[in-house]
Symmetry: C2
DNA sequence: ATGGATGCAAATGATTTGCATGAAG
DNA sequence: CTTCATGCAAATCATTTGCATCCAT
């Protein structure tokens, strides 16, 4: 059986990224938290307090370039990051109040993307996020 | 026939916003440019060079609060702003290369929003943006 | 050995804020 | 005349960068 740290090293290797402690730490954190995390959340979760914030930024940017990670925008002040290898394409719903994040697996943009392809667009991608007040927060407001 | 400046004043009035030159200028600019603009683009378009950048920021924020304007995120470093009163709900496709913006009128999120309502979410909204390389830019790359 | 990765500190750049003044209602 | 908006300058905060050192390969 493959141990986790070996699996993480394999991920880095396959993307021609050097195996370093900060990178292994960050993959582990993204793996274990099944929701998009901000840079500062990731930084706080690193046990080894030595790792610099700048390293976290640089690591995430190299992960994006390697298409290991998705950058997600909830229209607030922070960008968030999520491992791509973890799960297939999906979207999110963010609670306006408690900021809880749920995943949405339905993807309904194929039709539009088909139209865009007809129009001549290539390399089409999209970002789709939902915002709303979750049932718990609706209750509390009563 | 109602003159344009009167129309803009009416918009401000209806939203209990004081009628000032910067605000009229900014509504005019948003009206005349049928695409989302960044703060700095808006600022540059103001003839009267006296208007401060900070005023543009403050104005846009009060317009958002009054729901006069939508804030749009193309996952680059700038937020963009678009008048709501101009046209009904729509999305965009941004060219990866030339950054050209086209509007998309199809909205296909109703089904998901229906599901979310069933789950108890209230005040549901979403942001959906597309990215791709437009036909002109695909050509040029050959 | 050597190029890439890191820590640290300083720079950058978008956005916000404090305050005195000016204009709108 | 009183409240709110503006201009100006300074502050804030996320993110990036330069550089010397360190480590993976």
């Amino acid at each position: 059986m493959i141990m986790k740290s070996d699996e993480y090293k394999k991920i880095l290797n396959e993307n021609s990224l050097r195996i370093t402690t900060p990178r292994l730490d960050i993959i582990k954190i993204l793996r274990e938290n099944h929701k998009p995390l901000t840079i500062s959340e990731i930084h706080k979760k690193i046990k080894n307090r030595k790792t610099d914030l700048a390293t976290v930024y640089r690591t995430l940017n190299s992960f994006i370039k390697a298409k290991l990670v998705n950058e997600i925008n909830f229209n607030d002040e922070y960008k968030r990051y999520e491992l791509k290898i973890d799960r297939h394409h999906h979207h999110h719903i963010v609670c306006n109040v408690c900021k809880k994040i749920e995943n949405i697996d339905t993807c309904i943009t194929n039709e539009i993307e088909k139209d865009l392809k007809k129009k001549g667009y290539a390399d089409i991608s999209h970002s789709l996020e939902f915002f709303g007040t979750c049932s718990d927060c609706v209750e509390e407001d009563k």
